[in-house]
Amino acid sequence: MIEFHSVTKRFPDGTLAVDDFSLVLPSHKTTVLVGTSGSGKTTLLRMINRMVDPTSGSIEIDGADIGTLEPVKLRRGIGYVMQNSGLLPHRRVIDNVATVPMLRGMAKKKARDEALALLDTVGLDRLLANRYPSQLSGGQQQRVGVARGLAVNPNILLMDEPFGAVDPIVRAELQQELLRLQRELGKTVVFVTHDIDEAFLLGDQVVILRTGGKVAQVGSPAEILANPIDEFVATFVGADRGKRSLHLENHGDGDIVVDETGRLAGVLVGSGPSASPSTVSSESKAGPRGPGASAQGGDSR
């Protein structure tokens, strides 16, 4: 469990990145920090492994104040995955994955064996083990980045827009892969993104931040979508527009769901007129980018 207690971060240039932020991030769940640029989400993430130290307030991991821990030691116990993978270009894939275990004193042979097993875990062919990062595709590099993050078998995995630089198809693939990994491994994942669809897809708990590191709303995706706390959140999650603003139309035999512009979004199944709006919402969240919804609607016109 990670707890933020009234954390504030003001950078030397005067920018207030995070303002009096308090939050509990439950263990074995994925918490997604989502917000626009300048909302302090990356700063918050980097405070957890002391890449950034708060100006005031404290952060506890399982009850221990991390301000009292040695940064290098702390970081070696926390998985970190960043955008553009951040792999060491002069080391082979397998050595990149084995880096941190070896820093912690694991023998080279054992570290490499475990690294090979991790390549399986993240769905990479073992044949890639002896390649250099520059010889891999962006998606493959990102998988190696995840494998490296998992290498020390950490309880906590920090992910800083890890899928931000890959194309939408590979991103969808990696998102599904992460969901699978999370079902198998049950890490405490802290995930930063500016993509609300990604946040709703991956997050058990979603934290919507507004500029200056203030929390706009915290909740499960369904709670936020059903009850956006204010105009900002409603706009940010897109509840008032396009593909999330769905309503029912009755066409004789059954109900169909259409979006704001009247395009067909889907059919309401397995329930009568009493279907709750949240059912529709959660269906929409399951495949916001999928070929299903909008494409189908387009065809029907």
């Binding site: 702390l74 970081r75 070696r76 116990g77 960043m82 270009p89 002069h90 082979r92 250099y132 520059s134």
Partner: protein, 251 residues
């Protein structure tokens, strides 16, 4: 024309190849002097350059000082130091070390600076200590540019080391000063040719070393990266190392 025949005659004269003032002795003196100067300059400039490159602090000062050092006329400095410490080899050592420091310093810190900050940041975030970042990340990735700096310093020192003979009976420069005094242009030109040959050989050695120290991972995916134009994370570093290598690669 007669210069060339005189020069050739001087170069092949067996009398010039033996004894304390013979070509092999002076060549060895010159080479040793160059290497010692480079070593001393590197001992000062490399750690300083690494510190500047790693912390990003003091760069402005380093650039200004390097510029100032480069502007010092070596002969003037040599004379000044000689007046201070007396006739002998100490003065040329000091003067040429001052000459060699700027390129080595520049090679050391630009080598570090050219590395994508994201790589350093990631290395720190996964738990490398500052010393480990320097030794395991910045040093291997910055080495080609450092060798480039050493290479350019070597070239300057080997040529300018002829000035050591100005105040000491030492090195290949002796042939130049002696030849000038007794108007033996064959000896002068012969001495110059020896300096040039030594410079070319050293240049070749460094070019080879510089090529060998480029980490394989950096060059491995290069042609593919350029072709598919993907949004990879290291355009800065790749282009810089390519640049550092431009003398070596013929492609």
């Amino acid at each position: 024309m007669s210069f060339l025949t005189e020069t050739l005659a001087w170069l092949v004269d067996p009398a010039n190849w033996v004894g304390a003032g013979g070509i092999p002795t002076r060549l060895a003196q010159h080479l040793l002097f160059t290497l010692v100067t480079l070593l001393v300059a590197a001992l000062i400039a490399v750690p300083t350059g690494f510190l500047i490159g790693h912390t990003g602090r003091g760069r402005g000062l380093a650039v200004a000082l390097s510029g100032a050092f480069r502007a010092i006329p070596t002969l003037g400095l040599l004379t000044l130091v000689a007046l201070w410490v007396g006739i002998g080899l100490n003065a040329p050592y000091v003067a040429l070390t001052v000459l060699a420091i700027p390129p080595i310093l520049a090679g050391a810190y630009t080598g570090f600076e050219a590395i994508d900050r994201k790589i350093i940041d990631a290395a720190r975030a996964v738990g490398m200590s500052e010393a480990q970042i320097v030794l395991k990340v910045e040093l291997p990735l910055g080495l080609p540019l450092l060798i480039g700096g050493l290479r350019s310093a070597t070239l300057q020192v080997v040529a300018t080391a002829t000035l050591a003979a100005y105040i000491a009976n030492f090195g290949l420069g002796r042939y130049l000063f002696e030849g000038l005094r007794i108007r033996d242009y064959g000896e002068m030109l012969g001495g110059s040719i020896l300096v040039i040959l030594l410079a070319i050989v050293l240049e070749g050695v460094f070019a080879l070393v510089q090529k060998l120290v480029v980490p394989r991972g950096v060059t491995a995916g290069l042609p593919i990266d350029i072709r598919d134009g993907s949004s990879r994370s290291r355009p800065v570093m790749e282009s810089t190392i390519e640049e550092g290598n431009s003398h070596v690669h013929s492609e």
